[in-house]
Symmetry: C2
Subunit: 253 residues, 2 copies
């Protein structure tokens, strides 16, 4: 089976690797940046292109570009009756309606960085398709890539994606904020790393609502005030601290 990728970002890179491991042939990697496309083809084969006019037919097309770009995909690509899927959490299946024949979604619910190896067989894949036959095609593809495949419709997927922004993207921003606060005082971020791991491990078996600790849930008002004073020179972190502490206080169990 030949697979062409539209896109060369983190998700495309990790999916291309998983496809190669599954025995599929990478046919082409399209990217606005031929250098980025080359980075993938160097590792996993296929031909790098940066012009939509150069796209050739393939068995499966995987569209893994900026959410805003999926709706702007040219309609004259040689997709024909091949399967085309996008990998976006936030984009409705119907983005392909009336533009392609056989289409679906293959959304990997994971955070990817190019420099980091992920065991793709553990990555939850949320899949959807425009009819039962195509669902089976997407399902077969997904199961060759991962052991964790879920049927998720567009509405549920958009909620999952929103929740993922909170538990992953925003969480990482909080990690970065902690790192910055320590750097300013020349304190080693390594001291916080075990805490970050344990915070994540706890909620693998507990409900986060029951795992809440810290000054806000304990009602340590003096500590909260001191922390806000310490953030006087960090207006964004000050606002975040005040907002999240107030939220924890009102939802505490």
């Amino acid at each position: 089976m030949t697979i062409t990728f539209i896109g060369s970002g983190n998700v495309a890179t990790h999916l291309a690797e998983a496809c190669t491991h599954a025995g599929f042939t990478i046919k082409q990697i399209w990217s606005r940046s031929i250098e980025h496309a080359n980075e993938i083809t160097k590792k996993f084969g296929g031909v790098a292109i940066d012009n939509y006019a150069d796209v050739l037919p393939a068995d499966v097309f995987i569209v893994s570009i900026n959410d805003d770009g999926i709706a702007q995909l040219p309609m004259n690509l040689p997709i024909g009756e091949s399967l085309i899927v996008h990998t976006s959490g936030a984009t409705h299946l119907s983005v392909f309606e009336g533009r392609f024949i056989n289409y679906g979604v293959l959304y990997p619910l994971q955070t990817f960085s190019k420099s980091r190896t992920v065991d793709f067989r553990e990555v939850p894949l949320c899949i959807e398709a425009n009819n039962a036959a195509n669902y089976e095609l997407v399902n077969d593809l997904a199961k060759k890539l991962s052991d964790v495949v879920h049927s998720v419709d567009s509405n549920s997927r958009s909620v999952l994606h929103l929740a993922a922004v909170f538990v992953c993207n925003f969480t990482n921003y909080l990690y970065a904020s902690g790192e910055q606060l320590l750097e300013e005082q020349k304190i080693d971020f390594n001291l916080l790393r075990p805490l970050i791991m344990e915070t994540a491990k706890k909620v693998q078996i507990m409900s986060p609502a029951l795992a809440q600790t810290g000054p806000a849930v304990r009602g340590d008002e003096q500590t909260i005030l001191r922390h806000l004073q310490m953030l006087d020179d960090h207006p964004q972190l000050w606002k975040m601290y005040a907002l999240i502490s107030a939220a924890i206080k009102t939802t505490s169990i």
Copy 2:
């Protein structure tokens, strides 16, 4: 060596367990709630008390209560020349100045829940004392409990504690927010758990500043707008989403 705990919360419970494993004898557990004190003495020995007048001499006193309460500890406790340490991240060493003779701090930089077992030997302990001799006492004690002992002064400890609130307490609140968003749509929180683990694992080896992913850092404005619309009925989450996304955009690399 006999140890008395003032306090019976999560930290006291896990420290009492670690002290028992290290071969120390728990003498008394003081708590405002005799039931809470009993929970610890049942497991790890010692006598539960709920009246400061009943505190007996011991070799070491570990004060593990609400931050606001440490400064209000009665001065007529029979501490004498025994070592007294508090376990608070936010409370200055000087809280004990002029009130006790030999004192220090033993701050476990970890999140504890009573129902969750932690390998205490991996918990970073930040220690400090009012003189070199007491530092050695606290250091000896700490090393019997954990393999990760750091000398951290009160100012650095307060910054570490503030950063810990961001990477642990606030992060857990984001997990709980994700859980709530899914629950409202009857979506299984298990789908998010691998993402939570990977987000934490990534920053064990990468700088979080380099690990940032998601709509805000990618500049997916349409997705951000859709997410804000989805949060219309959640004013606190709406504000958090807007604030953190704006912060990610301004600090993106």
